[in-house]
């Protein structure tokens, strides 16, 4: 167990900067998630903590001690790789026991610890097998076993679940979460999957092009994204973005004029271009609302409805309205491989109660509160609204 401090850590490969002035204070026992699009430097950060990559500039401290120059084996940190990196010529027991054997423990002690780790992970029946004779999930657990067996100061995990199918991934997510809570070991976890990020971590670090965008609890990032990139990254389905104009009496948008909410900056006489963001879950079907709360109504023709049982997701095609273009959002859509974010005309996604009568090709009236609207600066991408934390 350890406290890990990254102080303006920078990594350069020749002229390219992979990680720029990364500063983060990871508390003892904390579960930190690193997320970001491909190439944003997540693995590089992890490898620098591990000691597998040299730190170009800045300082890395574990328990207050500078460890920049220490070899991986002297940092007492365990790592789990996306490929699992099991030794194919060793049995499961030998794989799990390898760190102990290297540490010079005697055979009896190794056997006992391996047994214990195997029991914890349900691997006891497979101890004599070779990795090639295991399923993906079992291999993953062997990799976990090898990490926990020597009670290291910290765990580093680089997309450990991305090679598993969806169901197994959910299962292993719970296993990891439970193990980390039981052991209380500081953990840094890299993932692409935002559901993993939201459910696993105490705090999330969002990275882009080697720069930290925002650090915070999952709820903080969801409620108060600091910029367009974070707002678009967190949340599923992602936040809707529409072009808008901020004026003295409200925001003019393709959905109509939205009155100024308490979180919005005061409008100026000269209208100002902004990007408007609304989460799909901020909408309600107007028909289902009991009392007429103040807010904005929008009526449009539903393009597609996806019924998920507990809820319905409806898509509007805003036709003539051009989709918002921003370099901050392009990085996201590239990573997600989604076309609709890069579509020609703007789209609106709304998340409705299952009781909604929304149907494809039929008009639908939806409601949203001006308080749930986010505004972003189109150039810098910075958030212009100031949301108060809920509850």
């Amino acid at each position: 167990m350890a406290e890990i401090v990254l102080d303006k850590v920078t990594k350069r490969y020749g002229d390219t900067v992979a990680v720029a002035e990364f500063s983060l204070h990871i508390a003892d026992g904390e579960f930190i998630i690193l997320v970001g699009p491909s190439g944003s430097g997540k693995s590089t950060v992890l490898n620098m903590i591990a000691g597998l990559e040299d730190i170009t500039e800045g300082e890395l401290r574990i328990d207050g001690e500078r460890v920049n120059e220490r070899a991986p084996r002297d940092r007492d940190i365990a790592m789990i790789f996306q490929s699992y990196a099991l030794y194919p010529h060793m049995t499961v027991a030998q794989n799990i026991g390898f760190p102990l054997k290297l540490a010079g423990l005697d055979k009896a002690a190794i056997a006992e610890k391996v047994e214990h780790a195997a029991r914890l992970l349900g691997l006891t029946p497979y101890l004599d097998r070779k990795p090639a004779q295991l399923s993906g999930g079992q291999r993953q657990r062997v990799a976990m076993g090898r990490a926990i067996v020597r009670s290291p100061k910290a765990f580093l995990m680089d997309e450990p679940l991305s090679n598993l199918d969806a169901k197994l991934r959910v299962q292993m997510r719970t296993t990891i979460s439970r193990l980390q809570k039981d052991l209380g070991t500081t953990t840094v976890y890299v993932t692409h999957d935002q559901v993993e990020a939201m459910t696993l971590g105490d705090r999330i670090v969002i990275m882009r092009d080697g720069v930290i965008q925002q650090v915070g609890t999952p709820q903080e990032l969801y409620d108060r994204p600091r910029n367009l990139f974070v707002a678009g990254f967190i949340g599923s389905p992602p936040m809707n973005f529409l072009p808008g104009e901020l004026t003295v009496d409200g925001v003019r948008t393709p959905l109509g004029t939205i009155p100024l909410g308490s979180q919005m900056p005061r409008g100026t006489v000269e209208p100002r271009r902004v990007i408007l963001g609304i989460r799909p879950e901020a909408f309600e079907d107007a028909e289902l609302m009991r009392d007429r709360e103040p807010g904005v109504f929008y009526t449009g023709t539903v393009d597609i409805v996806e019924s998920l049982g507990a809820e319905k997701i409806a898509f509007f095609d805003l036709g003539a309205v051009e989709a918002v273009r921003s370099e901050h959002l392009e990085a996201l859509s590239r990573d997600r491989g989604t076309q609709d974010m890069a579509a020609e005309s703007a789209q609106l996604t709304v998340r409705l109660d299952a009781k909604s009568k929304a149907a494809e090709g039929r008009p639908l009236k939806v409601w949203f509160s001006p308080e749930s609207v986010y505004l972003f600066d189109p150039d810098s991408g910075a958030t212009l609204t100031e949301h108060v934390v809920a509850g």
Binding site: A71, A78, M79, Y87, P88, H89, F98, L102, A132
Partner: protein
Amino acid sequence: MSTRAPARHARRRISEEKTAQRRLALWLCAPAALIMLLVTGWPILYAVLLSLQRYDLRFPDERAWVGLSNYAAVLTDPFWWNAFWVTVVITVISVAIELVLGMLLALAMYRTLIGRGVIRTLVLIPYGIVTVVAAYGWRYAWTPGTGWLAGALPPGSAPLTEKIPGVAIIILAEVWKTTPFMALLLMAGLALVPDDLLKAASMDGATAWQRFWQVTLPLMRPAILVALLFRTLDAFRIFDNIYVLTGGAADTGSVSLLAYRNLIGGLNLGIGSTMSVLIFLTVAAISVLFIRAFGISAPGTQGERR
């Protein structure tokens, strides 16, 4: 029952398909196999036939079938056994040195980031030179009076005319020439070791030395065995280096050289063929030994040594 029948049916169809594929494969391989048989099989068979006859071109009239008596003659001949042990010594020592040097070279070539192309080309130069040409180079180098290496020895010594120094120089020439080949094969083996595994080992607390012995080497085992097999077979048939360097003087000849002397020099087809057949049998035995070792050590196989 009813659900099982289609499954069995499907399985049968799959196996039928497999048999058909196998048959096609056999037909496709057949022409090549036939030519191989004609080109290599006939000479082998002919050599075996010759080895069973008394057949000396100097006395062609005395040609007769003598059964295995040629084998008895060769196997009781001290010259044969001397040549045999010299060959074994040359093979074992040169292959062992090549393995170590080749591994070092392979590691150097694999790990260097700068000037990779240049280093790989430089290393391969000895292998690109014709053996006989290189052998002459070594011979002149070790010839007293003219050679640059002989000059470093105490005056009056002529290493190529003595047994142990002669064999040592033969081994040196052999190692110099074929280490690059070994390094190349081993480098292919190094590429078999995933980077993640070495990273995982360093995280698990392994030093560079431990990573090499406990991760890299075991994973490279198949490649090492192939390299060893190739080189052992090659080294056992050594001929040109010895022919040029010592000519087999001072009991430094190999079995191949001895067979050649009997066949071409002595014109004794019977004895020469007997020796050739014995060399062939030894080489075959070495191959079988290695392939057996393979069968046991191929990764993923059951019953692998723990």
